[in-house]
């Protein structure tokens, strides 16, 4: 069954084995550069389950961010499909993918990408407001989230007044503010020092796990990846055997 982007995908049935939230079927992405084909991702197949925390490891230029873009619908694949909870993003129009993203996906970027013209609180409210009209409840939720990330006293501050770590904490809160089912984090600690990065990662993991969300994190850090339920490694555009992080 295909549901529209406006609908909330059906909740997982706890009685059955966990069913995949994300399914990659023969996914590929090819760019043309100077008349030559450059395969960034080739024939990727994978499944990520509801509530799962998956780390995506791989060297620079291996296609990690491209994969994230395909899963979020920001980019369209050259071949194959991305199916999220039974809904094939590949078959959606650009506008439908955007609407799907605004409803079901939360983002954490390496460079924070907060909206500089909105206050911290407004940054949190924006994804919610894109879905629907804001209510008092939403303001309360934003305050709670800011409290959870330790920034409740900075609600009316503009992002450029915050340190890098603080900005990424706001970004983490923003990613889950509109209650998405899937959170995608693209090297969320890549622009932070080790200690701050760890704090932010702790926060992200805590918030996501407590909310029962699915988290896909792109990272270079094997230490951080080890905390995931599962690690996917990508190399030269190909996913290598999924491994459980215990080995690290």
């Amino acid at each position: 069954m295909r549901h529209t982007v406006e609908e909330q995908p059906p909740a997982p049935d706890s009685g059955n084995p966990p069913r995949p939230l994300i399914r990659l079927e023969g996914l590929s992405k090819v760019y043309w550069e100077g008349g030559r084909e450059h395969v960034v991702l080739g024939d990727l197949n994978a499944e990520i389950h509801e509530g799962e925390f998956v780390a995506l490891l791989g060297p620079s230029g291996s296609g990690k961010s491209t994969l994230l873009n395909l899963i979020s619908g920001i980019d369209a694949p050259s071949g194959g499909r991305v199916v999220i909870d039974g809904l094939s993003l590949t078959e959606l129009s650009e506008r439908e993918r955007t609407l799907f993203r605004r409803r079901h996906i939360g983002f954490v970027f390496q460079f924070f990408n907060l909206i500089p013209t909105l206050t911290v609180e407004e940054n949190l409210l924006l994804p919610i407001e894109l879905k629907r009209r804001l209510s008092k409840e939403d303001h309360r939720r934003a305050s709670e989230l800011l409290d959870a990330v330790g920034l409740c006293d900075r609600a009316q501050t503009y992002p450029d007044r915050l340190s890098g770590g603080e900005q990424q904490r706001v970004a983490v809160a923003r990613a889950i503010a509109h209650d998405p089912r899937l959170i995608l984090a693209d090297e969320p600690t890549g622009n932070l020092d080790e200690r701050t990065g760890l704090q932010v990662f702790d926060l992200l993991e805590r918030l996501v796990r407590s909310a029962g969300k699915t988290l896909l994190v792109v990272t270079h850090s094997r230490v951080l990846a080890a905390r995931a339920d599962r690690i996917l490694t990508i190399h030269d555009g190909r996913l290598e055997a999924a491994q459980h992080p215990i080995a690290s």
Binding site: N69, S72, I74, D75, E94, R95, T98, L99, R101, R102, R103, I105, F107, F109, F111, N113, L114, I115, P116, T117, L118, E122, L125, L126, P127, E129, L130
Partner: protein, 849 residues
Amino acid sequence: MSPLLLRSSRRFLTGHPGQIVLSVVGVALGVAVVVSIDLAIQSSRVAFRVSTETIAGRSTHQVLGGPGGIPDGVLTKIRLDAGYRLAAPVVEGYVSAPSLPGRPLRVLGIDPFSELPFRPYLAGGRAGVDVSTLLTVQGTALLAAETAREASVAAGDTLRVQVSGRDRAALVAGLLDAEDELSRRGIQNLLVMDISQAQALLGQRGRLSRIDLRVPGGEPGDEILERIARVLPAGTRPVETGTRSETLQDMIGAFDLNLTALSLLALIFGMFLIYNTMTFSVVQRRTLIGSLRALGVTRREVLRLVMGEALGLGVVGTAVGLMVGVALGRGLVGLVTRTINDLYFVVSVEGLSLPPEAFLKGSLLGVVATLLAALPAAREATSAPARATLTRSVVEDRARRAVPRAAALGAGLQVLGGGLLALPSRSLPLSFAALFCIILGMALLAPLATVVLVRIAGPVMSRVAGIVGTMAARGVVTALSRTAPAIAALVVAVSVTVGLGVMISSFRQTLSLWLDATLQADVYVSPPELISNRAEGRLEPTLVERFARQPGVAGVSTYRGTVFEADYGVTRLVALDLYPRGEAAFDFKEGRREEAFRRFRSGEEVLVSEPFAYRHDLGVGSTVRLPSDGGEREFPVAGVFYDYGSDRGVIMMSRTTYDRHWSDPAVTSVGLFLEQGGQSEAVIAGVRRSAEGIQDVVVRSNRALREASLEVFERTFAITAVLRLLAFIVAFIGVLSALMALQLERARELGVLRANGMTPGQVWHLVASQTGLMGLAAGMLAVPAGVALAVVMIFVVNKRSFGWTLRLEVSPEILVQALALAVAGALLAGLVPAWRMSRTPPALALREE
């Protein structure tokens, strides 16, 4: 639209006040120039219409005659033979009053007993004066109360006036009071007299200017008109009053259109400014927009956001533009009126009319132009995929890829423009559409030409200035999304300046050569004229003979200029008694000189000027129909001659032929030919002496008349020069903003260079080299483009507007000026960023991203 998105947008704009100001200035200046020209033209038209309508009153038709007007007896024929009483005679003319310098008074001679159904404001009662005074007291007149106040006269005082250089006095019998604003403007500058006194004052004894009729509509009216037509003598005819007013206003149609087209140029330059600012604001926010897109903001929402911002800026800019337009209009209305007075008809504009349509038009133009100019930026913001918006390189890639497409489109537009010009049409709007296609085509070709020029200049700059030179050259191409619009705007601005400059100098040169050939006589004598190029006054008949008898005078050419309405609209007929040496004044476009003059002298054949032939499709062998005293007469055309005195054109007829068909012995001016070795100063002094006490005359040597004619030319082109300057200012601000934005945007890059050891001087050098190179590229493209524009304006637009053949005169001075202007403009634009960058500590610049 999400309120938070709107808030974000508002905060971005208020956080960049400089950009907002530039945008608003761009729209405001463009709108202001268009609105001011519109208001100035409308004001002249309204003033003309109000005065025409006030004077026409409630008349539905007017009986008009030929050059000499209508004999008195026609009125009796209408009243008695046709049995129609609702007819009022009118004598009209212009006089000047020393107490009202620069404001001609319109003499309106009326029959007070016939006036009530036509102009009730003059027929007693409402005017607050006893009109019968006009009849009983010799030399009396009524004057508008306001005009009287300005002339410092009151009822009972004498107003001194001059008619064709003769001093006359009018006793102000009463003052006309207006009931409303419209009437106030209508009666301004009006000198109302009894008809016989007006005839005496204007030297039109026994002749009427026209007879006003008031006939009912429909069949009864048609029947009355037929009855009247039957009793009208040959050469007179009834025309609808409204049609006549339109015919008069049509005279300035081409003039209006040319000014409007020029003013639209300023708006186009304003659009460049908006385009630049909006593109810059999008480029600045590429990360922000990318983030929004990643968060789920749709393309349509981004489009609405950017277009909403543009709309806001457009509305504010337009509002400011309307206000500035009114102020500018007050300044321009004088220039426009002066030109209309110099070239077409007497109109006195007391104030600026502010018709709501002009504001509506200006508002629409401003807002639509802003939205159009912002559209590419908005599309830029939305068309890239979400993450792609995050990278600057994508913007530049797209810009580079767009270069060939833009060039192809530009070439296509040029071809389209050429095609439109090649169409066998005389439509002026079509010519301007073609001209705009060509200008826009040039703008679109500019990026490709820039890339090519920079490729050539790059290696040279490398050799001359090393790595800094290489960076400067490469920077122009790598930041093409920013540099191309700036260069395109500069190319268009400078080429238009070149085009207009070449056109004006070609016009001036043509006129100068024509004057050299035309002014064959050594001394010219005429009464003082109210309209520079429309000599219509009368010289005292005795004076002409006196002048001819002056010692040293070998011969005389006499000239009688008349203006009347015929099948050709407002028609100018000149009766010439040409001294043989004067024949050299004519340069024929069609017809052989000897043959043409033989037929001209032998009678019944006329010469027509080039604009007249062009307007009415005439040539040697065709005929012109004129209303003579003996009825409509056809006169074959013996030759078409070059003439730059009037864009309406002129018909020249030998004096003998004129006298045969019209009973009008008047002479307007004379040209005196001196004997071999004759001294013009002595003759001028003699002429002045002989006219003393009889008539005030203007006596000018050949050289003085030539200079005076060129002075009128300069005056009539003053408005064009002002518009050219305004358009350039708008374009220059656009270029300045684009280049400044470009350099300020490079703050971080320059910070890196400074951090790596580049001195402030080297930064200055880099920025100046780059902007200088852009200026050079723009200048080199603008010069040929400007000459091409001049060719189109001279050979097509001018021909279709005025019917003149002009010589193309490309002075190297204008071209060098243009190149210097482009380079200097661009260098100036680089000054502020270069100064700012060279003074910014590298650490700060690095943090600014």
